[in-house]
Symmetry: C2
């Protein structure tokens, strides 16, 4: 069966976010009153698995093995079944 | 008052997503049965505005002026008030 995993990867609190900082400065240069900008990445993954439970287990593995850096990233995900 | 805007920027359907494709290949190399991977970016922006309505208007402007490329990106956002 097919599943869609939506994974969000973000820097752990306290880690410098250079892209967020650049974005904050660019917005401030445009005169927006912005205090802070954080950037996260979303992966939408269509995968095949035998059950929702397996799809969740596989997604968790993908996060640990490839999608996130355990030293500096946090991740969270949702998995849902795709129609037939 | 302070608001938190959560903006998601993604490629319009039909645009080639090189980062998603690289990720798909890397996951397939790890033996995962993955059909497709799409990548989107999330900006979390703390801003100052006089009302929720203004915060939404400012966020919409930021999306058009800086955060998205109107040719190839779609965006969506949610805005909420931050405590006191």
């Amino acid at each position: 069966m097919r599943y869609l995993s939506r994974v969000e990867v973000r820097l752990k609190p306290g880690y410098l976010d250079p892209e967020g900082e650049s974005t904050r400065r660019a917005l401030q240069d445009l005169r927006y009153r912005v205090r802070r900008v954080g950037v996260a990445k979303v992966y939408e993954i269509e995968l095949t698995a035998s059950s929702l439970q397996e799809a969740r287990k596989l997604t968790e593995e993908m996060c640990r093995k490839l999608l996130s850096n355990p030293v500096k990233d946090d991740y969270s995900f949702e998995v849902r079944k795709l129609g037939r």
